[in-house]
Amino acid sequence: MKPLKIIVLAKQVPDTRNVGKDAMKADGTVNRAALEAIFNPEDLNALEQALRIKDQAEGSQVTLLTMGPGRAAEIIREGLYRGADHGFLLTDRKFAGSDTLATSYSIARAVSQNEYDIIIAGRQAIDGDTAQVGPQVAEKLNIPQVTYVEAIEEITEFYIIARRRLDNGIERVKSPLPVLITVHGSAPPCRPRIARRVMKYKHARTLTELQDASEDYIRLFQDRPYLKIDEWSVADIKADEDALGLSGSPTKVKKIENVVFKAKESRILENSDQDIESLIKELIDNHTIG
């Protein structure tokens, strides 16, 4: 099979699965400083799908693309440790405040600077949970999209057959290439970091990160071109500044409400036939069961 060019979209997110007391600020927004920054879980499932295609079609290239502040370069390194070939960090102050529309615009611009056969993204990120960026990128690139993918059952240089995980079952979809797919968390977990690659790519840096490096290190960096993580600014992707950042984001947060459960939602029943019977009756009456 002909080698394919695969782009994986990944996001660095606060780990909202392990939320402590100080996870939220007083104004109801996420306190990013208190939460560990991690590779968005479903984006790892997406990376695994990309690497599986690479296993099948030898010579395929997996490129990781992420947008975020400088520290998001960590996501690129994490991808390199697991088998990605290359990474781009889309970073510019002008991207700040982007909603999904502005984000997908920026990503679509960045993607279209590259050749690609398949774009793979996680279904959604655990910070915003919108599941909108992937589909919007496909729309803007004017290519087909298959969302909620659990497995790629067949792939050739012309089409893919993907299995979608839906609420009420599964669906098998065939699509021509190029295509964008979003991957569901029920897909296989990502392969581990590979020891040798960790030792090789732990030195990978963006040019911004390189500014703090020692001279010895800079020499090493020059000797080993694969250590360079590319940074792209708004100018590099030839984007229209009005369409990104806050000005490109029509989403306005009207109000944030802190929901605290006050009512006690549980009841204690005696271990008696009578109590159980009355509970069953109540559940049948309010149509919870039956």
Binding site: N18, R191, P192, M199
Partner: protein, 572 residues
Amino acid sequence: MENFYRDTRDLHFHLTHPLMKKIVALKEEDFKEAGVYDYAPLDYEDAIDSYDKVLEIIGEIAAQVIAPNAESVDQEGPRLINNEVVYARGTRENHEVLTKAGLIGMSLPRKYDGLNFPIVPYVMAAEIVSRADAGFSNIWGLQDCAETIREFASEELKNEFLPRFHKGATAAMVLTEPDAGSDLQSVQLRGSISASYDPQKDIFYLNGVKRFITNGDADISLVLARSEEGTTDARGLSLFLYDRADKGVTIRRIENKLGIKGSPTTELVFKNAPAKLVGDRRMGLIKYVMSLMNSARLGVGAQSVGIAEAACREALKYACERIQFGKPIIEFPAVYELIRNMQVKTQAIRSLLYETARYVDLYKNYNHFSEERKLEPEERQESKKYQRLADIFTPLLKLVSSEYCNRIAYDSLQVHGGAGFMKDFPIERIYRDARITSIYEGTSQLQVVAAVRGVSTGGFLERIKEFEAERITPDLDYLRRILVEMTEEYEKVVGAVEKEADNEFADFHARRMVEMAGNIIMGYLLLLDSVRDMDYKTSAEIFIIQAHSENLQKANYILNSDVKDLGNFRYV
């Protein structure tokens, strides 16, 4: 995210021990491979950082894959299907993930697709894996066999077999026979395994039965067999490499065991199984298996520390959650004393484990050099010193760590009360898994036989005196004074036993003397740990004070005993 490396501070602490600088420098030979392999370290800091990052991968896999699989692996166990051992589902997954992560063959040189890791970080990986699932750690830990092949086999065999480890090949050391357990020199007395040589093909054919073989259906096996017809002792035994693909072995059965159930223990029948000679004939037991056994004993040390760590954590977790008399049981002195003691003992055997691992690292590296060039007199001296230390510390470690690990598992189950006796908590499995550590790779009783040389030659005392001379901070001096006193008592006891000049009497007290030395050594190690990091001070204090009273009791018993007391015990 849970990580069994990151959550155990001791590991990073031992990884950055001052002696590591020397170990890394020897292992990397002035970092000569930095320009050859893109993953070779550039300098000392880079090497330690690489070990740290790779251990982080292992910590993550241990916490997120191996530990969650442990219960189902214990229940399912391996099965024998069509003369093949089929691992439990979880075992297969564990092995696959570790292979994908490139963590098999960690200590092999890079030219054989290894990571060229020193023993210390490799042993740390073994500890971490054991904490997650002691049974699985056997399957993973048998990559030790690769080291034996690297040390002793021909270049041709090395090139053929060693790169297979990186691709996930499993291994087995096939030594024990029905009539040759601890007494390995009696291998192939009658009807057991023997090798006959076909000079045209340069191949040996193995025939006979091997028993209690861990991971007996491995891809690559190191087999001890009698190659010299007419011999009956150790000098007629040679070591062979057998490739599973040659299909010369019938697996008679998989044993049904008390613990480490995920690790298949098999009985093997060799029928004209083709095999290749490792190194020289007749050196099988005297040289190669001795080396293999030493690394296996170090491995059991790591396994014991890993199990102890798991047991401590289970006890602590349960004691914090379990409410009785209106408060968590950890608040009761009877419980917190138990748990703190378990933690201190775990730290003590961990310090002994990495101290021993450092000795092994140092002398193996010198040995390795001596194959290529003549060692400088200074290097030869160092090499000898560390080899001698490794020879007495390895059985001491195996003895003490396995016995402690059993005790800690016992106490952890005790903390769980009745719940611990049920199958509902991991401690029940951990308790069963712990039991084998003081039995296999030489029972505790046999470790004493090896370790007592450290008593009789003065090897332990010499090292203790070196510890005593180390620079410490004044606030720790009160602990050193206790250790000095303990050393004097130890010398007195050893002198008294020697004075009797009776071998049986010396054997009778051997374990007590070895344990006394062990207590002083672990006491010093914790004291020296406290010099580097004051957080170890409380542990050192708890350990040393208890060890002192323990040693006094033993000394008292020995000094008041007499040769004729043995008659009270002897079976007639």
